[in-house]
Each structure stands twice: as C-alpha cells, then as structure tokens.
C-alpha cells in the first residue's frame, strides 16, 4: 500500500505546529489504510530533526539539507518534492495551509497533475461509486471543506490522480504524540539529484519574521468581535472585558477586513481555530467560516442585536441587545460577584 506523506515546515530549527498536527492526522489515516507514514523535511542545519518527527509515528523521514534551502523558496522545494513523489508515489500528501504550503502545494500539484484541495477542515477515508463509469473506488481521501463563502460544505475526492493532496490550516487538527519511543528510518537526500541552479532564480533579499505576540490558542477565554462592533474604538470594550476575565481578543474576518483588529486575531476557516473554555462572540453574525474556528469551545455566549443570527445556533447563552451596553455590565457584575 502506498504511503502517506507530510511536508514538514521548519521554523528556526523546530517542526512547525501545523506539521505536527498533520503528522498526528497522517498517523491515524495510515493506521486505517494500513500503510506507512512518511515525512519530508527541507531546510538547513537539520541534524537531529528526526527526533522531533518520529514520536508522531513517522516510519520514514526524508531530509534535504542545504544552506540554499532555508528559508523556504518555492522552486527548489517544489523540485525536491516533485522528484521524491515521482519516486515514492505516495497515495496522500498533506501540507499546512500556511504561506508556505499554499505557495508550494499548487505548484507541486500542477507539476504532478494531481488534485489539491485547499484549507480542509476534515479528512476522512471513504469509498466512492462512480455511476458513469460503473466503477467503485475504495479508500479514497474525502477532503472536506466549506466553500463558496461558507454557504456549502463540499466533499472533494481525487478518484484517479495521485497523490491526493490537501492543505489544512494550523489549529484545525489536534496534535498528539503517537509514541515517544517510535523509531523510523532516516534517509538523507543527495541534493544534487533533486535541484538545479535554475531553481534559485528568486532571491530572498531581506526577511523580518515576528513571533506572534498573541497567544490565542492557549487562552482559556476568548472575547471576539465582529463587524457588528461598528468601529475600531468599540473594540476597546472587548479588550477591557478580556483583561478583566484573563482572556484574549479575537475577531471575525469581517472585522479584520474592516480594520477593527489585526489579522493575527482572526478566528475561523481562514484564521485560527480556538477551543477555549468560554467564547464570547460580540456583534458576530456567525457565518460557517467563523463557526468552523470556534464551535468546539466549551461554552459560547453570543451577544447580538439580531435574534436570528446564525451564531445563536451554536451558543449556550444568547444575549439580545447592544454590546455597548452589555459588555460594561458584564465587567461590572463580574467584579461585584468575585469580590
């Protein structure tokens, strides 16, 4: 049975969060398909990197190590993956839906003529019967994602082309060590066989990376605002409540697009997925893209002037009214009751 591959992104010597999550998912898919889980790491100074990877149940790690391969650069990374996939013929390939994976994935899928589904929210193994050809396909990867502005959930399959490729955003899948003592094989690739000088025409001149200051995923309480907050100034109310409760401030895509909050705070299909103890949605209508990023929160409070807002369908408490009135009251009564 052909293997499952995960492309491991490297961030300053560490395997990125999203890659760890994908290896976790890859392991469970590999168990179901009874095949190997393999990983490819491309970068520089990768000695010992496999120690971070094997515990996720990875059977084989391919390492491409060269100083020209870090930071990420589209063409050389594409060439290595395309050639490796042509040799190894994986049935499934997973990448993070990050600025790296969403640049790399389509280029690889075009070169291999294999289908790619972006930003999947769920990956499941299943069969497919094609009526036109009267043909049954077993054990395909169902790539499930919201589409069309979140108004539909589509299940996408790649019946004939391999690998079946999918990208998934950080935080969507859970990360879990499979076995801390798991031992796989390490294969070091001879770079000269995989890249040529013409792969290095794009030159990285300068690079400023910031560590994310906002730790949304670890916050027990998230106070999130939507377009209904009305202005950037009104967002201050959310910071006030978050500070009192010991939480973080999140935002819907509409609020980020309107400039009410920075992109790093965006929650939803194209942002972060959070699972706090308490999620307070303020002035958020709750389209499915947003709900995809927060509906697993333990408790949800929805504050909205619209009694029919979709967010109410996932809420434990619905407060109908004006956030400008309600948030200060929440602060007041929280303080009173905790004295």
């Amino acid at each position: 049975m052909n293997s499952i591959f995960v492309y491991c992104e490297i961030d300053e010597g560490q395997v990125s969060e999203v890659s760890q999550e994908l290896m976790t998912k890859g392991r469970s898919l590999a168990n179901e398909l009874k095949c190997q889980l393999e990983a490819i790491v491309i970068g520089h100074k990768l000695d010992g990197i496999e120690k971070q990877i094997f515990p996720y149940g990875v059977d084989m790690v391919y390492v491409a190590d060269d100083k020209r391969l870090y930071p990420y650069n589209t063409l050389p990374h594409t060439s290595i993956i395309v050639k490796l996939f042509e040799e190894q013929k994986p049935q499934i390939a997973l990448m993070g839906a990050s600025s790296v994976g969403r640049d790399l994935g389509p280029r690889v899928s075009s070169a291999l003529h294999s289908g790619l589904t972006a930003d999947c929210t769920s990956l499941v193994i299943g069969d497919h019967f094609d009526k036109k050809q009267d043909k049954n396909y077993e054990n395909l990867l169902y790539q499930i994602r919201p589409a069309f502005g979140g108004n539909i959930i589509a299940t996408i399959i790649n019946p004939d082309c391999r690998p079946q490729m999918a990208t998934v955003r950080e935080g969507v899948m859970k990360k879990e060590i499979f076995d801390p003592k798991y031992k796989g094989k390490l294969v070091k690739l001879d770079i000269a066989n995989y890249v040529s000088d013409s792969d290095f025409v794009v030159e990285i001149i300068e690079r400023h990376m910031e560590k994310s200051k906002i730790n949304m995923k670890a916050a027990p309480i998230v106070v999130a605002g939507g377009y209904g907050m009305g202005s950037k100034e009104n967002f201050q109310l959310l910071y006030d409540l978050a500070e009192v409760l010991g939480g973080e401030v999140g935002a819907s895509r509409a609020a980020v697009d309107a400039g009410y909050a920075e992109h790093e705070r965006q929650i939803g299909q194209t942002g972060l997925t959070v699972r706090p103890k308490l999620y307070i949605a303020c002035g958020i209508s709750g389209q499915i893209q947003h709900r995809a990023g927060m509906e697993e929160s333990a408790q949800i409070i929805a504050i909205n002037t619209d009694p029919e807002a979709p967010i109410n369908s996932v809420a434990d408490y619905v407060i109908n009214g004006d956030v400008g009135v309600i948030l200060p009251k929440m602060i007041k009564y929280y303080k009173q009751n905790t004295k």
Partner: protein, 291 residues
C-alpha cells in the same frame, strides 16, 4: 526606459456575501446565473500594481485576461475604466466544471498564444473558492518563477522585479527575473477608482457575442475604433488538449455538497437587563468557567 507588457489575470466572482438558495446546481457546480457578479477583490489589488508599473514605465501595456461566461466581459470593461489598455475574454462551454488545475491549464494555453508578456499579475485568491491555486499553477504550466502574497512592487531593474511579500508572520523582500508570475495580497494598495475619460472612451467596448446580441445603432464605431472590440477566445482560438479541459481535465471531483443548515441547540436567551447579566456572571463563576 523600458516598457513592459503586463497581463492581469482577473475573475468575475459571485458575491458570496449574498447567496440565495438556487446558488448550486444538482451536479455540485455553481449556478452563476443566479448570483450578482463582482470583480474579485484581490484581482483589483493586482490591477493596481500593474497600473503603477505602467505609471512608472510609460509605454507599458496592461491587458486583462479573464476566463468565464460571456458576462465576464463586464470586468474587462471595469478594468479599462480604471486604466487597463485592453482585455481578452476566454470563454467556451468546454471550460465548464473546471477545477483549479483545468482552469490553470486553459489560462496557460491562452497565455502561450499571447506570448510576449513580461509580467503576469493575479490576485492571491478568489472569494468564491479561496484556494489561491491558479496563480502558482499557471506559473508552473508556463515554467516561470512565481512570487506569491506580493504587497508592493518596489522597483524593476536590470530585468529583475523587486517585491515585498506579506507572509503569515512577517515580511520578505525578494527579487525575481522576468518573465515571472506574481500574486497580489489583499493587504496591498486598493485599486484606483474609475477615470471619467476612460469611462467615456470604453463604455461601448464589447465582445463579438455582446455586439451580436445588442441593438447597436452605431456599428461603424467598432470599425473606426478598434479598441472597442474585446477579443473573445474559445477553444478554437487557442491550442489545447481537450482531455485536459472542464470536468474531464479536473483531477478533483465534487463528491457531495451539503447546504449549510443550522442545527439549533437550545440556548438560554437573556436580555441586557441588569438582573439577567448579574445572574449570568454568577452562573459562569459558579461553574468555574470564569474567575
């Protein structure tokens, strides 16, 4: 000073913020006829970057290439009102049902026919699919380097474009030799507004099909002013392998489509009255959710 030939890849998209019930057909593809259509937002950011290059390098031309049904000519006109020189509508029933790969193939075949371009600029992604795949796939099919998430074209010098890119957690400055493909991020500068003179000049621009379907009294205009004719390319005008087009040429298939139906869970509905908020905070503190 050198002038450049720029092609902007643009898409007319359904306004996904306002979707009705008949938006999807039974086969899982989009029923575009039932939706209001707009110029894909990030493609407008892409157009602006192209127009800025044109501002800096006189003689540069900007051509809008779009693939879609006949009505997609609307966005070509929209682009011309804002400063594009011309456009090409790639339209054929054979393209129907294309996934991103089959779309990229058709567009790359059209670009091979255009031939002598220097820069291809596309929006990062379209709001109907949010995949961000067509730009990189077109680049791969043409064998050109790609630079994604461009926020600003800084300069073009000695055959190289210098660009600032916006990444998940930072920014990067890169250089790339021409010819190349770039995709522009929504954080880039907004597109300039329509220009009144250009609006007057191009408002009657039409494709052959549009011209045939209209009751145009001034047909001679289209001979006297060739810029009013928007070229329309079908599979007959470009060199293609038909097996690579449409549903047949698409490796990904839509297995099922589920319309999103909300399953209401029983929520406790309260008001903004002081007593209600007081009770709520007490409940949350008692259950150790907060505090």
């Amino acid at each position: 000073m050198k002038a450049y030939k720029i092609i902007v890849l643009a898409k007319q998209v359904p306004d996904t913020r306002n979707v009705g019930k008949d938006a999807m057909k039974a086969d899982g593809t989009i029923n575009r006829a039932a939706l209001s259509a707009i110029f894909n937002p990030e493609d407008l950011n892409a157009l602006e970057q192209a127009l800025r290059i044109k501002d800096s390098f006189p003689g540069t031309t900007v051509t809008i290439l779009t693939m879609g049904p006949g009505r997609a000519a609307e966005i070509i006109r929209e682009g011309m009102f804002r400063g594009a020189d011309d456009g090409i509508l790639l339209t054929d029933r054979a393209f129907a049902g294309s996934d991103t790969l089959a779309t990229s193939y058709a567009i790359s075949c059209a670009l091979k026919k255009v031939k002598d371009f220097d820069i291809i600029i596309a929006g990062r992604q379209a709001i109907d699919g949010d995949t961000a795949q067509v730009g990189p796939q077109v680049a791969e099919k043409l064998g050109l380097p790609q630079v994604t998430y461009v926020e600003e074209v800084q300069k073009i010098e000695k055959g190289k474009v210098f660009m600032k890119r916006r990444l998940d957690r930072g920014v990067e400055t890169v250089s790339c030799p021409l010819p190349m493909v770039m995709t522009v991020n929504g954080s880039a500068a907004d597109c300039r507004a329509r220009n009144a003179k250009l609006l007057m000049k191009y408002k009657h621009a039409k494709t052959v099909t549009e011209l045939q379907n209209s009751n145009e009294d001034y047909l001679h205009l289209y001979n006297d002013r060739p810029y009013l004719n928007i070229p329309e390319w079908t599979v007959n005008e470009i060199e293609v392998d038909h097996a690579e087009l449409g549903l047949t040429g698409s490796p990904t298939k839509v297995k099922t489509i589920e319309n999103v139906v909300l399953q209401a869970k029983a929520a406790k509905v309260i008001t903004s009255a002081d007593s209600d908020i007081d009770n709520l905070m007490r409940e949350l503190i008692e259950s150790h959710t907060i505090g």
